[in-house]
């Protein structure tokens, strides 16, 4: 057990170190897709339980439970698919930039797999920080101004997230619950999956990063914050229950608004990024429902895990699809399959996303009245807006785009994409069946079919209607970051005076023949004698005074 859990993080770590050396980097790159296999095997076959590694940090607590198994499983799967995608694009590791990318890729994998296993605050923070930092290297692969801007905004928000989480965990370690740790952890972890209004790094980073990196960012890096919520926020639960309605409202706002902003983007990857914010808004709302009362928590956490799983797999597949070579063998499948995935994402009837929404639906009556009514209106609305967004996405991709050159932007074979798509459609179903067979069957009932179908039809109709003229106006990617940057540019903090040390001391000292004296002192025998005398005098002086 203890060895197995360590292998999960040690294998990618060893490969990361191997990439640094010119002699071993080639085989390390070849092994790239297999680095996540120990995690995959652990998720499938590993025994549940936890281990304390007492020499590491303050006693690193790693473990595997039902929740961790699901999260670890889909995370490892997406990393594997992204690895095959990168390798099929012929990832050479000869240049410094490529090796830097692969190094960061592997370190991010260590962090990403680690957070799924960490049961304790410090350990979670360790892996989370590793993930955040290495994520920078996944996003920034060239020196274009817009890349550096995206990287800068990512780093700023990642740092804030780090510090808030650290403070939150310190409060928890000191045995304090209450609003402080709750707010710090909620937003600190929430930055990762784009909780409003701290979502602005997401579209920029996803738009810039190479497609496999975007797949990882959107698919699984985002879920690091999600599992943090599920693991650590309940420790502050009494406060959260009071905020349940606010959390639901925040989530629904993200779900609807982000989809609308995404619909007026031009870059398909940015559309997908906004879709991620929107989908994670639904996750946030579900989380708000789960914390509303202690009895709901165990009933809804599996639904949240299912939602995270299906979103991770589907979204990662979508991003890989955007970066796949359509001219290659079986490349003709890419566009139709993207359409199919879009259907799965928005929650078409009988898909896992629809099952989660039905699952949520079942508990609306147990919620506070405001929250119940809000969700009853907003849940179908999210399907409408998501359908609008994804229709525009599919429309934008109808013709193959020329892919830019760069790390991981070579022409990748469609096989990893198609493979991941198959699993993305299959696994959430199996998971839904094992977690909650009733909801699974409910999704095939006639009433539910219509319930999930009509919002989609409305969304598709809106997309058709708006196709003509909505294209004209745009919201720049990153939306509220634009005015913020303007503010930051114009509101530079006052600069402290720079010269603090020059003139003042001139008046302190009487003029002395220092230069000559220095020259004299530099002959060391004399200095030594004077020095010893000084010590003697000081010692005597001290003795006399005392």
């Amino acid at each position: 057990m203890s060895v197995v859990l360590l292998t999960v993080v040690l294998v990618p770590l060893v490969l990361a170190i191997a990439v640094c050396s010119g002699r071993t980097c080639q085989w390390a790159a070849r092994l790239l897709p297999y680095a996540s296999w120990p995690a995959l095997l652990t998720a499938v076959f590993g025994a549940e339980g936890s281990v304390v590694y007492s020499p590491i940090l303050f006693g690193l607590l790693l473990g595997l439970d039902e929740l961790g198994r699901i999260f670890l499983g889909f995370t490892a799967l997406v990393w594997t698919a992204a690895g095959f995608h990168l390798r099929s694009a012929g990832l050479p590791v000869s240049s410094f930039v490529e090796r830097r990318f692969v190094f960061c890729y592997l370190l991010a994998m260590v962090g990403n797999l680690g957070v799924m296993l960490a049961f304790g605050g410090p350990g979670f923070y360790l892996f989370f920080a590793l993930l955040s930092l290495a994520g920078y290297g996944l996003i920034v692969t060239d020196r274009e101004p817009q890349t550096r801007r995206a990287g800068r905004i990512y780093v700023i928000l990642a740092l804030f997230s780090e510090l808030m989480i650290l403070a939150g965990f310190i409060f928890l370690a000191a045995g304090r619950s209450g609003p402080f740790p709750a707010v710090l952890l909620f937003f600190g972890l929430g930055i990762k999956h784009g909780v409003l209004p701290l979502h602005m790094w997401l579209p920029l980073a996803h738009g810039i990063a190479p497609p496999p990196a975007s797949a990882l960012l959107s698919g699984v890096l985002l879920k690091a914050g999600a599992i943090g919520w599920l693991r650590f926020l309940p420790e502050t639960a009494p406060v959260l229950a009071e905020w349940s309605v606010a959390i639901i409202a925040l989530g629904m706002a993200a779900a609807v608004l982000a989809a609308l902003v995404g619909a007026v983007q031009t870059n398909p990857k940015m559309m997908l990024a906004y879709s991620s914010i929107s989908q994670m808004g639904i996750f946030t709302a579900g989380f708000g429902m789960a914390v509303a009362s202690p009895s709901l928590w165990p009933l809804l956490v599996p639904a949240l895990a299912l939602f995270a799983c299906q979103h991770a797999l589907v979204k990662a597949a979508l991003f890989l699809g955007v970066g796949t070579d359509r001219a290659a063998r079986s490349g003709g499948w890419v566009w139709p399959v993207l359409g199919l995935l879009s259907l799965a994402l928005v929650g078409a009837p009988m898909t896992a996303a629809a099952m989660v929404k039905l699952w949520f639906d079942g508990y609306l009556s147990t919620l506070p009245a405001v929250a119940g009514e809000l969700l009853a209106v907003a849940l179908p609305l999210t399907t409408v807006t998501s359908t609008l967004l994804m229709s525009r996405f599919v429309w934008a991709l109808r013709k193959p785009r020329s892919s830019a050159e760069g790390v991981g932007r070579g022409l990748a074979s469609p096989v990893p994409f198609l493979g991941l798509t198959g699993l993305a459609l299959l696994i959430p179903w199996l998971l839904a069946w094992s977690l909650n067979p009733e909801v699974f069957l409910l999704a095939f009932a006639g009433a539910s079919l219509w319930k999930t179908l009509w919002p989609m039809l409305v969304g598709a109709a809106t997309a058709l209607l708006l196709a003509r003229w909505a294209v004209r106006w745009r919201i720049p990617p990153g939306d509220i970051v634009v005015p913020l940057e303007w503010l930051a540019h114009h509101l530079k903090p006052p600069v402290l005076p720079v010269s603090e040390h020059r003139p003042r001391h001139r008046y302190w000292f009487p003029p002395m023949p220092w230069p000559q004296m220095e020259a004299y002192l530099r002959r060391s025998p004399v200095t030594g004698v004077i020095y010893m005398l000084c010590i003697l005098i000081l010692a005597l002086a001290a003795g006399v005074v005392l």
Partner: protein, 499 residues
């Protein structure tokens, strides 16, 4: 006097004797000089290892004789002393290796290495001092023996810096002496008492005077610990050669001040009396101001060494901050940061020295693409930079965790947020350097490139920062292990809290 009482003396002599031998050699006898130096450093390390084991077993060693009636010269080995001695012994060895490489072929090496060893002897004396008088003796010895190192280059800037340095430290020493003398008049000779402090059970009438004495003592130490506004000498002293900046400004001199404050609070006043007299809160404000101010100044420096110097100003205050909060976790944080800050900052100074020596790069804005030319050095720099930002799994994270925990447990929630702000500022001035190093691209030649060998620079320059960077990672990642500073700091904290 039995053999074990000689141990403290041996620890002291293992660097004092090399110093005297080096002064006796002639300038060209480089091989002999280096041999003596390294032998001393290795012998000291071996001694330290043995003593550590003994202290861990609960033994204490003391060496004392009376200079004058009631005025004893006393060297004692206790857990707190060993924390500082071990740090300086390990870093002395590494810095000696580095300095031999750094100064090869330059004049005045005899003077340099002689005083360098003397400095280390003084540092060990400070660590082992068993009473305030002995502490003061070595404290002043340190001041004087550092001066020739600061002015080593002998140019105008060095002389000016040396003058400022002396003015500050000698004045600080004088204030300290007044404080010590006053305390002596009130309560007689003051030794350091490991559990509970020397002043335990002192009558309440003396409380007002004790407060003032505390202010004097801390003001005396604050000069070396570079608390704002007494920090000005530190960034100026950056004109000294890199090994000096590395050892003295990361470890010896500045730590002597911080260590003095820790000794005074824990072993002279004791934690209970310090709480009763509420000594911490004033000091806390000063340290918080220093932390923020130092970081803000660091942000404005383009010169790498000056940026590091201001960062030292800021980071040192973490130690004093932890010491002034007086909760168990904060004490652990302060003590562990004493070691961690030393290891991390010395790495950064080593790296800055390598950049300057090998490529002629002195400024942050010139670091573009340096990670391609010198990946190992830049890796060491990055690890320690992350340590300064307190990212896990580096040593800095351990310190900050305990300091933050201590602050929250003591009810100082706002201090935690100051620590976070400082972390943010640290990131703001370390990340650009790291970004430039790894993600930037160099256009054209390096200003002054040397040592184009199989390694990226001289081996003697490269190995020390790699070792300290590895220690930074090791101390952080394996904090729970018996050999980690954290374990030792927890041991001391238990002793000081009297549990």
């Amino acid at each position: 006097m039995n053999g074990s009482a000689l141990l403290p003396l041996l620890l002291l002599l293992s660097s004092l004797i090399p110093a005297l031998l080096i002064f006796a050699l002639r300038e060209p006898q480089a091989v002999a000089r280096n041999c003596i130096n390294l032998t001393g450093a290795v012998v000291k390390l071996a001694l330290v290892a043995g003593v550590l084991w003994g202290v861990y077993r609960g033994w204490r060693f003391e060496f004392a004789y009376e200079l004058l009636p009631d005025v004893a010269f006393s060297l004692r080995i206790d857990a707190l002393a060993m924390l500082f001695v071990t740090l300086s012994a390990v870093l002395w060895l590494l810095t000696t290796v580095y300095a031999i490489g750094y100064l090869a072929g330059t004049p005045n090496q005899r003077r340099f290495f002689g005083f360098f060893s003397l400095c280390v002897a003084a540092t060990v004396g400070i660590a082992l001092a068993g009473n305030l008088f002995t502490f003061f003796l070595f404290y002043e010895l340190l001041t004087l023996s550092t001066y020739p190192l600061v002015v080593h280059r002998g140019n105008r800037a060095s002389l000016q810096a040396g003058r400022i340095y002396l003015a500050y430290t000698v004045a600080g020493g004088a204030v300290l002496l007044v404080g010590i003398a006053w305390l002596y008049v009130l309560v007689g000779p003051v030794g350091f008492v490991e559990q509970g402090g020397a002043l335990r059970g002192v009558s309440e009438e003396l409380y007002p005077a004790l407060r003032w004495i505390f202010v004097l003592l801390v003001a005396g130490f604050a000069v070396k610990a570079a608390l704002v506004p007494l920090h000005i000498w530190l960034p100026m002293a950056m004109v000294a050669p890199a090994p000096v900046s590395a050892l003295l400004h990361a470890v010896a001199v500045v730590k002597a001040g911080a260590f003095g404050i820790v000794r005074v609070i824990y072993d002279v006043y004791g934690i209970d009396l310090a709480r009763t007299l509420d000594l911490g809160s004033g000091l806390l404000l000063v340290t918080v101001a220093t932390i923020v101010y130092g970081s803000l100044r660091a942000l404005q420096q383009d010169d790498l060494k000056r940026r590091l110097a201001y960062s030292t100003v800021s980071q040192l205050s973490y130690i004093v901050l932890g010491a002034s909060i007086l909760t168990p976790a904060a004490i652990v944080g302060a003590l562990v940061h004493l070691v961690h800050q030393g290891v991390m900052k010395i790495t950064l100074f080593f790296c800055a020295g390598i950049f300057a020596e090998t490529l002629g790069v002195h400024k942050v804005s010139e670091l573009n693409g340096i990670g391609r030319r010198m990946p190992w050095t830049m890796t060491a720099f990055t690890i320690s930079g992350f340590g300064m930002m307190a990212l896990p799994p580096t040593a800095g994270f351990i310190s900050k965790w305990y300091l933050g925990l201590g602050a929250v447990q003591g009810g100082y929630d706002w201090v935690l947020f100051v620590l976070l702000l400082s972390g943010l500022l640290n990131a703001a001035y370390f990340l650009p350097a790291i970004y430039r190093g790894w993600f930037g691209r160099r256009e054209g030649e390096w200003p002054h490139e040397r040592y184009q060998q199989r390694l990226e620079t001289k081996a003697s320059l490269l190995v020390p920062p790699l070792v300290t960077a590895a220690l930074t990672l090791f101390f952080g990642l394996f904090a729970g292990w018996v050999l980690s500073p954290l374990y030792w700091a927890e041991l001391i904290a238990q002793l000081e809290m009297g549990r």
